[in-house]
């Protein structure tokens, strides 16, 4: 009987997948450039469509920036599991002895680093373009930094459920959008409160609580969904 090699620890498997996906994403530029271009396009079209009036722009800025960030998350959904499904690496991931929960977490973290983080960092620059005032700018960045990982985790559930279906993109939106709404409401409300000089800490705490909940529970749902998607 052949003896299998001792397997690397779970932590190493996590880092290994994280690095693999980061390298692959880095070489596949459209994965992380598209959400940024989308954000830039939407935000720069708004002043043309509504009004270049600074007061009006400042009023709509929190909502516009948050909605654009949210939709850009949806735009990148195919990079999450579909590519792995199509080249067969998802099968290998499910079969690997490492915990699927951690592997899913690694994939979601990478995906956020590649698509969510750049959006959160670009948003304040676009906020200046929309005449968003001082306090609002950094609260916007903060809410996006807490909110976009939650969005990515929610998207991952939809993506995992639909990965076996050709052209499941629209279905993902239908599954994920209702769950996005609380995050969107709290995110924009925090920025609006900060602009108006009110307290925004409660919004941030609630966003943080949602992230904690999603971070713990969503990978379970994603892992189970992936097993179901692969089983037929």
């Amino acid at each position: 009987m052949l003896n299998p090699h001792p397997l690397p620890s779970e932590g190493k498997a996590f880092v290994r997948l994280l690095m693999r996906d980061l390298v692959a994403a880095f070489r596949h530029r459209s994965d992380w450039m598209n959400p940024l271009f989308f954000l830039l396009m939407v935000v720069s079209l708004f002043p043309l469509g509504i009004s270049p009036e600074p007061q009006i722009l400042a009023k709509v800025a929190p909502g516009v920036l948050w909605i654009a960030a949210l939709l850009s998350t949806l735009l990148a959904v195919d990079a999450l599991f579909l590519q792995d499904y199509e080249d067969g690496t998802l099968e290998q991931l499910v079969l690997s002895p490492s915990s699927l929960y951690l592997m899913v977490l690694a994939k979601v973290v990478t995906h956020w680093l590649v698509t969510g983080l750049p959006v959160a960092l670009l948003a304040p620059l676009l906020g200046i373009m929309l005449n968003l005032s001082g306090d609002g700018l950094w609260v916007l960045t903060l809410t996006l930094l807490i909110g976009t990982p939650t969005l990515t985790l929610i998207t991952a559930i939809g993506a995992a459920l639909t990965v076996g279906i050709r052209r499941g993109g629209l279905l993902v939106s239908l599954i994920a959008l209702p769950l996005y709404i609380p995050v969107l409401i709290l995110g924009t409300a925090a920025v609006v409160a900060a602009v108006d000089g009110f307290a925004y800490q409660a919004h941030l705490s609630l966003l943080g609580a949602m992230l904690a909940l999603a971070l713990v529970l969503a990978p379970f749902a994603v892992a189970a969904s992936l097993r179901i998607s692969l089983s037929n």
Binding site: H5, L7, H28, L230
Partner: protein, 195 residues
Amino acid sequence: MRDDAVLFSALSFQVEAGSITQIMGANGSGKTSLLRILTGIMPAESGRVLWFGQTIGKQRVEYGAALTFIGHLPGIKSQLTPLENLAWLAPEASVEACNLALRELGLSGFEDSPCYRLSAGQKRRVALARLYVQQRPLWILDEPFTSLDKNGVSKIEALLCAHTQAGGMVILTTHHEFALDSACVREVMLGTALC
């Protein structure tokens, strides 16, 4: 069962150490489905898959650590190089072992070019290089000889033979006739689907 059609029933076989089990059958007779059930990716409509007397669902980690599965899809990420792919698929193997395996399969010179530049046969070779570096007892291979040239086929055949001689097990589907001595090759025939 697939799409409400019974593909096979009352199928029972045992795989022993040191044997090659070849699943035969016409196109659409359920060879791939059977293999996917054996790996545990797909649940069986009825029946059980046992590994050392226990159902595989109860010992996913142990079974996963004992199994190398290479399916229809090679499991190769096209943005990564063959070496990076191999290092990810077989984390327990050293870089030297991976390099050696790739050289053995005639991929030297391609270690550092991304896999989307490789041909279908070369990608298949990258996937099969896992067999050299992953010392796992059970191999489940779905059409491993697809798009390989003669030289590749004979190399993999020799590898399968060496694996069984070391006490490993191989379950595979192929339409390819084995040139080896067929003493260790057992055949499981899936019946023709009822129309």
